[in-house]
Subunit: 426 residues, 2 copies
Amino acid sequence: MAKPTLQAPRGTRDFYPDEYRLREWLFDHFRRVAKACCFEEVDAPMVEHAELFTRKAGEEIVQQLYHFELHDRHLALRPEMTPSIARMVMARAGGLRLPARWFTITQNWRYERMTRGRGREHFQWNMDIWGEPGVAAEAELIGAVFQLLDALGVPAPAVKIRINSRALLEESLRAGVLAKRPEAFEPLCVVIDKLDKIGADAVVEQLCDGAGPIGLAPAAARDVVGLLEARDLDEAAARAPAGTPALAELRRLFELLDAYGVAERVVFDASVVRGLAYYTGVVFEAFDTRGALRALCGGGRYDRLLETLGGPAIPAAGFGFGDMVILELLKDLELLPQLARPVDDLVYAFGEDQRPAAIRVASRLRAGGRRVELVLGTPKLKRVLGDADRSGAKRVFLLGPDEVDRGVAAVRDLAAGTQSEEPIEP
Amino acid sequence: MAKPTLQAPRGTRDFYPDEYRLREWLFDHFRRVAKACCFEEVDAPMVEHAELFTRKAGEEIVQQLYHFELHDRHLALRPEMTPSIARMVMARAGGLRLPARWFTITQNWRYERMTRGRGREHFQWNMDIWGEPGVAAEAELIGAVFQLLDALGVPAPAVKIRINSRALLEESLRAGVLAKRPEAFEPLCVVIDKLDKIGADAVVEQLCDGAGPIGLAPAAARDVVGLLEARDLDEAAARAPAGTPALAELRRLFELLDAYGVAERVVFDASVVRGLAYYTGVVFEAFDTRGALRALCGGGRYDRLLETLGGPAIPAAGFGFGDMVILELLKDLELLPQLARPVDDLVYAFGEDQRPAAIRVASRLRAGGRRVELVLGTPKLKRVLGDADRSGAKRVFLLGPDEVDRGVAAVRDLAAGTQSEEPIEP
């Protein structure tokens, strides 16, 4: 047993070849979907100035920051990708052609208690659209999530997306309990996001906490929770101020999602607000309909984030889709693929005298685009053939003294079970 | 101008779409070569316990560690990948099928002064072979570096690889000036590695420093520098103890490299020791023959690293190939590709009423494997056609009120300059 300090830090993962192949398979799906939608991949450093992430809305994500002082700078490992993307957009705001469609696949860090489907690092696929104010952006993003699920083979009933609008909630509250305290809206959303986890009573209690940033009267807090119970757009309309634009937007979004062919896979849910403080409009999350797992992805519109950072107002919407929960779901649904080590040909020298000839054969095959394992050392042929079999290799090239003298390699075709000869140098 | 804390930390890079495409192009080449050689990709967390990296041999890499205390743990961003790989091998030492051929493409961090081709983070392609004691491993690794250079289009005379053996130097020194102080060998290599940078006099001075870990007499230090002047294997043989196995290994390595077809591209150079303390045998580095850039890659044998960490003795060899110097070289040689934003088709709705139809067309094309930009908003058609032209798109699908009424899209073929119609739903 290695010393604890010679193991990976708790909550982090090593990716051995088997796990890496699975990760690569998943990321390839992320990339293929994003590229099918003509999103462009970008990246930013995993270490940023901590200030980019420290907001004052009491989100868990900020409390869980990996941050540290180094050479008089306050740095942090990114807990999520959106602030870095916002920083990049801000730096080129004048010259960037909008709308910009960007995607990232990055590792993010949060120091938190570990549960199923969550460690202290995870990879997240993000897709963001900058510069499009209308819900066509949200529709395109939600459409992409379903494209991914379809490509992974997830049956349609297994995952649905809940949709709400923070703007709708905000309009209702500004017409009511938050009329005089609009600044309480962001922290209020952070509390409401915990509804599923902590229950309505605890939410009411936190909304009423006089020492906190919200401090509602109990009746007002219960009114807020009441707003979250609307389960379709008509119910929501009945509770919202008349003629609210947020409601019209939601109706339009559902119309567009019908054109994407996913109307049966989305539901309105007034209790969805998502835990990030910066969302301003439509919010959504994909969930396992069995209720066994955390959200598979979360996203929404964040039209004011750039201004918060001191940049111009550029409307934006996006989502983050983690690698861990989807892998749990695919495992539960028995949809994980078996991925073998990919080998086309093995090249085997019977002795070290034949190694140069084996190298010539391997080099020639590789130059021709084959994936070639040059067997190192001189293990028993039986072991080599066993390895070849397990990896699904097609051919084994054998170089013994007799073959090399004649300038050939013996070629065993593993599928056909036949053997022939090929010149070492063509 | 954004606040400094809202810019990327100094020495780090943002990858906007253009830069990301170039990075992806380079990484694809790394991956293709590694896979052609049947190496398997792995990964480990970028944050490790600092102890994994803190060695006592005075290497720059350790002095430049990004490290910090967090929740009572001493953590560090990896400065290089090999220790993490060693940790992973150690954790499965009993069950791992050897030889194991692993590769990684990871971001590594060093807090250092920035120069051309070096920031505070860089990406590095590593290939490592675990469990092969013979120079067939080094030959396979060096062969892979040349495969990459060929695939990138680098002309053969532009880059060569210098090869030496620390074992050869160690055998000479143990028979001589280090006979009684073998532990001084690793720090001595760290000093010698600076020869090119600081010159022979400064090296002699550091070797003689009585306060340091080496403390040679001036004559002995000059003898050491003399050993580094051998420029071919015969010269090296004349200075080495008779019958040294390290020399036979080097001769065998050059023989194998001839079989790889790269004999003209490798040179023996007794002054190459590489700056990492843990190398034990063959060491090598690829260099720009113009002498304008730092080493493109460095590698070698490190048979004792696993024991140093408390694991079993497993022989190993590998190299690290950074992303920054090769990009500088490709730029200098005008070999960087022009990579356009990849778009197959654009789909354009003349008004928001036609958006659902546009979505149907885009969804159908994407499901068929096309990369489709769904134009958001309703920009002027002229602008859309200009974008299509710049991205090299093949077709533009146009949906106006008339087309949608008739259930069709107008399809403009940009290469042929023709226009036809296709049903919205096939």
